[in-house]
């Protein structure tokens, strides 16, 4: 049984003016102990409501949230307060008490829980050391940078030694350097303290940097869930694809619109150890094809390599087909973006792309398209 089990979760807000608003519609989700689970979506997708249902800052309209085997709906008010102490939360806007020092902020959850003064003193010292802010304990939040504020937020969230950390857009207000630093801190603390982390974000970078699994949300629903590397390498839902391909697509766009391929404009996707193989070299030696590498990139998805390469593959159509088969056999995923008139395919450039976009299943549709293209004279 997963640590957090969400079944059929629905949340409807009484809308202002134009009727009720469904923020969540039938969300199912399970988060395993010890993982970092990311939820990505555009603003308004419902991810903020979803994470707030995990500690009941929002009351679900229907459906169940079970954490550590306990159904939250059954908790009394008092039990809920105790339950929340077992869960930390950090926020996009940090939400630190401006009237308290760094020390006072971190002490807050302990005071609320009624810990004796001596214990509070001791724990706060240890927590501040853990997030690297021992020298700032007397400062007020207004005197800190964004990154420092979030460190205080993290120390506060972990004060009561929770098993679960909820991160609500925790890095969205930070610059790239601080984002990286905070993400690494979260990852380190997760390993050190055996935390389970649920984070929501609208940035793919956050997901690829530390998450093990990801759920993609769109208009109150989860449209895709899976290991980050799988979703990143082969997004199945258009919404996931748009997150993954924001950057990539804009690059491809140039080649699709402005570049006239001599043969076929093919995109290779490769995951993991394949990165180490000198495949292009093999391709040129084994087949009578010309390879023009237009663009190549390798991303690090939470420890796994994920590469893309855009090439113009020209030469005798038969050899090109064989070469493409060879690449497929080498565990690469192929996508034909465009075929030159000389390469003689009847499939227009647009068709290929549409096929790849519309398909529910990334692999097969891409494969099918490439096969179609091979149907030309050759």
């Amino acid at each position: 049984m997963a640590l957090i089990e969400i079944r059929g979760l629905t949340k409807t807000f009484r809308g202002r003016g134009q009727g009720p608003v469904e923020a969540l519609t039938g969300v199912d989700l399970s988060v395993d102990e010890g993982e970092i689970f990311g939820v990505i979506g555009l603003s308004g997708a419902g991810k903020s409501t979803l994470i707030r249902c995990i500690n009941l800052l929002e009351r679900p309209t229907s459906g169940s949230v079970v954490v550590g085997g306990r159904d939250l709906a059954g908790l009394s008010r008092k039990e809920l307060l105790a339950f929340r102490r077992g869960m930390g939360m950090i926020f996009q806007s940090f939400n630190l008490l401006s009237s308290r020092t760094v020390r006072g902020n971190v002490a807050f959850p302990l005071e609320v829980a009624g810990a004796p003064r001596a214990e509070v003193e001791k724990k706060v010292g240890a927590l501040l050391e853990m997030v690297g802010l021992s020298d700032k304990e007397g400062s007020y939040p207004a005197q800190l940078s964004g990154g420092q504020k979030q460190r205080v937020g993290i120390a506060r969230a972990l004060a009561n030694a929770p098993k679960i950390l909820l991160c609500d857009e925790a890095t969205s207000a930070l610059d790239p350097q601080n984002t990286g630093a905070i993400l690494r801190l979260i990852e380190r603390l997760k390993n050190q303290l055996g935390l389970t982390v649920v984070l929501i974000t609208h940035e793919m970078k956050v997901i690829t940097e530390i998450c093990d699994r990801v759920a993609v949300m769109e208009s109150g629903r989860i449209v895709e869930t899976g290991r980050v590397i799988d979703v990143f390498a082969q997004p199945r839902h258009p919404s996931s694809r748009s997150f993954v391909e924001v950057e990539r697509t804009s690059r491809d766009e140039y080649f699709r619109n402005s570049y006239k391929p001599r043969g076929r404009l093919v995109k290779f996707y490769y995951v993991g150890d394949v990165v180490a193989e000198p495949l292009v070299n093999a391709l040129i030696r084994l087949y009578d094809v010309r390879v023009n590498i237009l663009q190549a990139n390798i991303d690090n998805i939470n420890g796994t390599a994920f590469g893309t390469m855009l090439v113009d593959l020209s030469g005798d159509p038969g050899s090109v087909s064989q070469a493409m088969d060879f690449m497929r056999e080498s565990k690469l995923r192929l996508e034909v973006l465009e075929t030159s008139a000389e390469a003689g395919s009847e499939a227009g450039p647009g068709t290929t792309r549409d096929g790849a976009d519309g398909g529910g299943d990334g692999v097969s549709s891409v494969r099918k398209q490439s096969n179609d293209n091979q149907g030309g004279p050759g």
Binding site: N55, L57, L81, A82, F83, R84, R85, M87, G88, M89, F91, S93, N95, L96, L97, S98, S99, R100, F108, P109, E111, V112, A113, Y140, P141, A142, R156, A157, A159, N160, L166
Partner: protein
């Protein structure tokens, strides 16, 4: 412009009466007005103790009280004043209408100050398991402290102004002295002295308030 010995004694008595009325009603107003303001905020829709009924009743009570001009209000609450103090006349009796009128004023100012506290802070406190009482005591009130001090300052100044009408029911005070001697007996210098004194007191209160606000501002 010299006051006679008699006028000086009157001035002293009036000043002490004013001080007595303002000090006590300020104390009572703060003790009652802040909780009322808190009630209005926490029972708002979407807040930690959401209750349409309580919110509406409190809001109605505040608006109703505030809509009565103070001189009329003094007379209007005389039965209540008699019940509470035993008499409707004198400085102590005036504390009742003063406090009642200022409590609702203070409650509205408190409401404004508390609404300045970002709801995110309340959420953060809820997330660590703080009870509603703890949220009010340890989050809302401390975070709104500069605004609350400003509210008390404004209320004190309003009370000083209101207390000038205490003469209507024999409450005495500086305002009453100024009207009876300065205006009705044409002793213009008495008028001047009281006006200057009030000016200095109000300035002093405002400066002290501003100073405290600065001390408590950490944002």
């Amino acid at each position: 412009m010299m006051l006679t010995a008699n006028q000086l004694i009157m001035l002293k008595t009036s000043s002490l009466q004013s001080l007595y009325m303002v000090a006590f009603s300020t104390l009572l107003t703060t003790v009652l007005g802040v909780p009322l303001g808190v009630l209005v905020v926490v029972t708002r829709p979407g807040q930690i103790l959401e209750s349409k009924l309580a919110y509406r009743i409190a809001g109605f009570f505040i608006n109703a009280t505030r809509s009565i001009p103070f001189p009329i209000f003094i007379v209007f609450v005389i039965p209540l004043t008699r019940f509470l103090v035993g008499t409707a006349i004198g400085s102590t009796a005036v504390i009742v209408p003063l406090t009642l009128a200022a409590v609702v004023f203070m409650a509205r100012l408190t409401e404004t100050a508390l609404l300045e506290v970002p709801f995110g802070l309340i959420e953060a406190a809820q997330a660590v398991g703080a009870s509603r009482r703890q949220i009010v005591r340890h989050v809302m009130l401390p975070e709104a402290m500069p605004g609350l001090i400003m509210s008390v300052t404004i209320t004190v100044i309003t009370l000083i102004s209101y207390s000038a009408m205490a003469g209507a029911v024999g409450g005495g005070g500086l305002g009453d002295f100024a009207i009876r001697y300065g205006y009705q007996r044409y002793q213009t210098d008495v008028m001047w002295v009281t006006v200057v004194m009030l000016l200095i007191v109000v300035q002093g209160v405002q400066l002290a308030g501003d100073h405290l606000v600065r001390r408590f501002s950490r944002r």
